[in-house]
């Protein structure tokens, strides 16, 4: 699977439809193990509350990974990503129930650059909060 989106087919202002990414406690446990970030605020409700958090919160990098997946699924080839940055603007609170939380990611083509590069501006929300700001990915397309 090479990149399925072509540079010439992309227009500035083009919207990439939103995708919902559910997140439950088990996902945070898996992410802790895979990333090596075992901070208890990401899996221990008792500890999270003692440091003033409403509940367990997702790793910022888990949220960044979901928005990254949104981009790589759009492009097809994850190797197309040449630059990806975010600011963590709000927490994703993950309750211990059947629903967990949902991270909703959408995007818009912000700019077309030389060398077949395209800048995608990303929006990520959970509940009423915008959980990433200044989220931008630059991809190089065929």
């Amino acid at each position: 699977m090479t990149a399925t989106i072509k540079y010439d087919d992309v227009e500035t202002g083009q919207e990439i439809p939103a995708v919902d990414y559910p997140v439950r406690r088990v996902n945070l446990v898996m992410y802790a193990g895979a990333s090596g970030d075992f901070n208890p605020i990401h899996w221990n409700e008792r500890f999270a509350k003692t440091v003033g958090l409403p509940d367990v919160i997702a790793h910022g990098m888990f949220t960044m990974a979901q928005a990254g997946r949104f981009v790589t699924d759009w492009v097809g080839d994850p190797g197309a990503v040449v630059d990806y940055g975010v600011r963590f603007s709000s927490m994703v609170v993950v309750p211990d129930d059947e629903q967990g939380a949902v991270i909703t990611v959408s995007g818009v083509v912000e700019e077309k650059l030389e060398d077949n590069r395209v800048v995608v501006a990303l929006t990520a929300r959970s509940g009423d909060s915008r959980v990433l700001s200044r989220a931008r990915a630059t991809v190089r397309l065929p």
């Binding site: 992410y31 895979a34 990333s35 990098m61 994850p78 940055g85």
Partner: protein, 148 residues
């Protein structure tokens, strides 16, 4: 406690080489819920023009987490209990792939106060043991109340 500004510009020694394995990439991709075959299947990766399986864009966090040794130096004055992640960025020269042996050199590029918080930015230059540049990561962490 305010962070020690003398640390701006300070660089770490090169990290011990991190060997990127097929199993770790698959584990990481599964943990982020990503089923892309390019993270699992050599043929799918080759069909996309890669020599072998590549890693997701945020994978470097596995081995470049916040420039370790510098941030742990007691002279810096960072209280880890109050730390949250502020910003993160990855700039790629090429994708990370199976078999890479990667070395990171981390440099403190900035320390500043924003309101009552202290912010510190660490750049990590990641290259192969042969010296080929692979990616640069920028990690900004926030020490809540550190400037208060």
């Amino acid at each position: 406690m305010a962070l020690n500004r003398d640390f701006v510009g300070r660089a770490s020694a090169p990290s011990p080489p991190y060997e990127v394995s097929r199993v770790k990439i698959r584990e990481f991709a599964t943990a982020i819920g990503d089923n892309n075959p390019i993270y699992r299947d050599r043929e799918a990766a080759q069909a996309a023009g890669h020599p072998d399986v590549i890693a997701p864009p945020t994978f470097p966090i596995v081995f470049s987490l916040a420039g370790g040794s510098i941030l742990a130096d007691p002279e810096l004055g960072l209280n880890f209990a109050m730390v949250v992640h502020g910003e993160q960025r990855f700039e790629y020269s090429r994708p990370i792939r199976v078999g890479d042996e990667l070395v990171a050199v981390s440099t403190v590029t900035d320390i500043r106060s924003v309101g009552r918080n202290e912010l510190i930015t660490v750049r990590s230059d990641v290259s192969t043991v042969e010296g080929e540049p692979v990616c640069t990561t920028y990690n900004t962490i926030v020490e809540r109340g550190g400037a208060g």
